[in-house]
Symmetry: C2
Subunit: 208 residues, 2 copies
Amino acid sequence: MLSTERVERRLAAILAADVVGYSRLMGADEEGTLAALKAIRRELADPKIAEHRGRIVKTTGDGLLAEFASVVDAVRYAVELQRAMVARNADVPPERRIEFHIGINLGDIIIDEGDIHGDGVNVAARLEALAEPGGICVSRVVRDQVRDRLEIAFEDMGEQQVKNIARPVRVHRIRLGEKRLRPESRQPRPHRSPCPTNRRSRCCPSPI
Amino acid sequence: MLSTERVERRLAAILAADVVGYSRLMGADEEGTLAALKAIRRELADPKIAEHRGRIVKTTGDGLLAEFASVVDAVRYAVELQRAMVARNADVPPERRIEFHIGINLGDIIIDEGDIHGDGVNVAARLEALAEPGGICVSRVVRDQVRDRLEIAFEDMGEQQVKNIARPVRVHRIRLGEKRLRPESRQPRPHRSPCPTNRRSRCCPSPI
């Protein structure tokens, strides 16, 4: 009546991450970059995912796709990871620093043999592509679900048209440097122009 | 760092349902009403919840609180239940008809020993109270997650201030009588005034 076929669906917070300037880093030092990435995953990224009850869906050389049962847990994970990376990079020369872009979305995704599919996943990858190095971009529904539950500040980046997604996506950037003092709704910030969608040269889907 | 304590959280679609005019029905025919409700649960409501991978969290005489891993499944369940009730009521005299109000919300809820808590649950109960007899009201995030996935039409009821919830809730009514012809965003409907929040005499939380 309502659909031609039934597939297994599940609400999830979807987190997409990739390494800033992966090709450049690999071009400069292939073995060193791989070793550094492996150490970050082993010492930081993977244990923290488990701690926040997340699951790594898949990884590639420079990317990671994870899902969390709770969007609060997903955002906590991303914030803790990005803050830990700042500390970790403090003594590393800028040209060798490993930084992540992170995007988080919430969606009613399709589960198929451990993999996840659907617009909710695609939007997470687009949000990741909009994040600045070391930054986190989330969709409005993520912001709405966590803003009264975590002491973090958001900045509205406006609506963004993203590739292969029919509806524009309202993007919010997490302001990692500051704690929110009061609920966001009572403390309006001046609206900044959205980050340019073509800021990064990559225009293809994130290879994760 | 981000929270004083960690609790178990999970994204879920929360469905609250209650019987229209329960006290009136019970006043008129206590045993007959209870028997009719029991039959509806046994023959219709409970098997359909299982079919849509939902879980009954709790019930009272006139109410039901359920959670679904997928919001698409939750909305499918509600639409099928309300349509089945119309068919079931066709031969019943109006004063003896059993009808449901249904509200559906999506939230990052707290799980505690099988029970669920949080704003997401409270909002579902408020949405239920705004639904007309035989009707379904959902929050905007529910509408956004299902509108491109199910052939059902929504009507925007505007923002509603609901009891004990700080932020206004954007309410959408499901138009059960009609299938959507085209995606809602390309087919704007005239905005109707919201259903009056005090239309129903009950002002206390739904006893479910």
